[in-house]
């Protein structure tokens, strides 16, 4: 078990592609850090540099208190779980789990004991003698996890480990990974595309964009106080509604709440925070017609075509909306739920 310290790390791929530029990140011992960001922002690259599968162009990666820049993956004492599992197809599940331990000349009795223990935790004891191709996707995923935990490494690195599973199984495995990580207390870095996975798994969430870190923090903090327009748009589903203050000002009979900073020229509001009834605090009122209603289980996503505003607004309504599509509704933006941004820098202002 160890902390991971990433200092001023850069990665330039051949052909002068800069995938990571000057990135700093401290991951403390036992923490589960989730990396999210749009496709191609460098999440896998960062993870693979920690793993030692990709060379580090500049900067320093430390695992524990050792600089690992020049070490082979095996010498870094990390374990990695791949998206396609990368199980050795010709070996039985047991051999898959044993392989890394055998290579490190772990005593036979200890290998046996660790493999059995991992198999028990992951409930794959029944499959130990099967080949990977005789397993379902979810079972293979468990074996891949097993291969990581038998090694008892300093850190787990996950690159979208659940994205090949169907939604239901993904939910189950997500909970199991969280439980497993809690009980083993192994430092983990987890890359994902999935909002829900990111929000629920992370002790800390790292939002990346174009090779840089946009914001780091507790998932709730990122959700409640996104530091930039990018994070505001990326975290939360459906994404935050963003309006230009200039447009809002021109709406008939609107006075902007005094709480909006003078520098701001954009305000955002979460679809969940839009009200259908007038709130007690200062607010901005909007009117429009219901364009589309998507019933999503216990709640409904309502898309509203606002008068005087180009973009559709998204509203999340608990239960069902009384009005049907095409009907006229009023929306209220409570001042306390507004996020203010400066469009030029994309940063939040208070």
């Amino acid at each position: 078990m160890a902390s991971i310290k990433i200092s001023s790390v850069r990665k330039v791929y051949p052909g002068n592609v800069e995938a990571i530029s000057d990135l700093n990140l401290d991951i403390s011992d036992g923490e589960l850090v989730v990396l999210v960001g749009p496709s191609g922002c460098g999440k896998s690259t960062l993870l693979r540099m920690i793993a030692g599968l990709e060379s580090i162009t500049a900067g320093e990666v430390r695992i524990g208190d050792k600089v690992v820049n020049k070490l082979e993956p095996a010498e870094r004492d990390i374990a990695m779980v791949f998206q396609n599992y990368a199980l050795y197809p010709h070996m039985s599940v047991r051999q898959n789990l044993e392989y890394g331990l055998k290579n490190r000349r772990t005593p036979k009795a200890e290998i046996e004991q660790r493999v059995n223990e991992a198999a028990r935790i992951l409930e794959i004891t029944r499959f130990l003698d099967r080949k990977p191709r005789q397993l379902s996707g979810g079972q293979r995923q468990r074996v891949a996890m097993g291969r990581a935990i038998v090694r008892q490494p300093k850190a787990f690195l996950f690159d979208e480990p659940l994205s090949n599973l169907d939604a239901k199984l993904r939910g189950q495995m997500r909970i199991e990974i969280k439980r497993l990580q809690r009980s083993l207390k192994t430092t983990s870095v987890y890359v994902t595309h999935d909002q829900l996975e990111a929000m629920t798994l992370a002790d800390r969430l790292v939002v990346m964009n174009a090779g840089r870190i946009e914001q780091v923090g507790k998932p709730v903090d990122l959700f409640e106080r996104p530091a930039s327009l990018f994070v505001a748009g990326f975290i939360g589903s459906p994404p935050m509604n963003i309006f230009e203050l200039a447009t809002l000002r021109q709406l008939p009979g609107t006075t902007l709440p005094a709480s909006i900073p003078a520098k701001a020229d954009l305000v955002g509001i979460r679809p969940e925070a839009l009200r259908l009834e007038e709130p007690a605090e200062p607010f901005i009122a909007l009117e429009g017609t219901v364009e589309l209603i998507e019933p999503v289980g216990g709640e409904s996503h309502v898309y509203v075509n606002l008068n005087g505003i180009e973009t559709l607004a998204t509203v999340v309504v608990q239960g069902r909306l009384a009005e049907g599509e095409g009907s006229h509704i009023k929306l209220f933006m409570p001042a306390s739920a507004l996020h203010s941004f400066v469009s030029e820098t994309g940063q939040r202002v208070e």
Binding site: G52, E72, M80, G100
Partner: protein, 282 residues
């Protein structure tokens, strides 16, 4: 595709049966001819049922050969051919596995050049470079030896190319997982890459074994002593007799015997082929 239409079944069977007959009939005739007296084959009317000369013909060919034609016993030639084909097949597979491994998994200077150099030798089979190759082998004193028979035929662009193509379809994560698991390059090669290539290796082994088995020109050049003659040379020598009709029964017996080892190789590898067809997943 699974269809259930009786007349279609019948038709496909008919086509297959006709195909098998066309291929198998000459072999059958060869076998029949090998069981009759020498004259039976050239009499004009060919017998279609086995004669009574079989034991005599086969034991004679296997045991003594035909002094008159300068042919050593068939079992000796079979052994020579077997070792020649075996060394060529195994040698080719080892060399091309290693070179494909180097080309696909290592970044070294002039890697592409190395690959294309190997590739270009595809255009230069032994027949094309026979004089220089012979000169080299002769200068090395390898005439009349297994080394001389096999070495020039071992270096193989075809197999290297096929293994390269296959290795490139093996997911890169497999190599990465092995690296994380502490396997060095040769350990990865031995523990993972070769086992996952096993069906390809089996297929190439069969092809290369047969390639080695049917070599004629090269053994003819490098062997002058009877003890190194190969079976294909032997057949040719049996047929090329001066002033008399070849003993067709002897020729055909030798042909039938020559067919057996490749057939056995194919049969023994069949299980792996079928496995390779069924398990497409890596």
């Amino acid at each position: 595709m699974v269809e259930n239409r009786p007349w279609l079944d019948a038709l496909t069977h008919l086509v297959l049966v006709v195909g098998v007959l066309i291929v198998a009939f000459p072999v059958y005739v060869a076998f029949i001819a090998s069981t009759h007296e020498p004259s039976a084959f050239v009499r004009g009317v060919m017998p279609l049922l086995p004669g009574d000369n079989m034991v005599e013909t086969y034991s004679r060919m296997l045991g003594e050969g035909l002094e008159l034609a300068g042919t050593p016993p068939v079992w000796l030639m079979l052994t020579n051919s077997f070792w020649m084909a075996m060394i060529i097949a195994v040698g080719k597979i080892i060399i091309s596995l290693l070179s494909a491994f180097a080309i696909v998994y290592f970044r070294f200077p002039l890697r592409t050049l190395a690959f294309w150099t190997i590739f270009i030798t595809l255009m230069l089979p032994v027949e094309v470079r026979i004089m220089p190759t012979f000169a080299v082998v002769a200068d090395l004193g390898l005439l009349n030896s297994y080394a001389g028979l096999t070495l020039p035929l071992i270096a193989s662009a075809t197999a290297t190319f096929l293994f390269r193509q296959f290795f490139m379809t093996v997911p890169e994560e497999l190599m990465e997982a092995a690296r994380v698991d502490g396997a060095g390059p040769m350990k990865f090669f031995k523990d993972i890459l070769v086992p996952v290539s096993i069906t390809n290796i089996a297929a190439l082994f069969v092809i290369m074994f047969i390639y080695g088995w049917i070599q004629y020109l090269w053994p003819l050049l490098v062997t002058t002593q009877e003890q190194f003659y190969t079976i294909v040379m032997g057949i040719k020598r049996l047929m090329a007799q001066t002033d008399r009709e070849p003993d067709w029964n002897l020729v055909m017996a030798t042909v039938i015997l020559a067919m057996l080892p490749p057939v056995l190789v194919v049969l023994s590898m069949q299980r792996l082929f079928v496995k390779g067809l069924v398990e497409t997943e890596k």
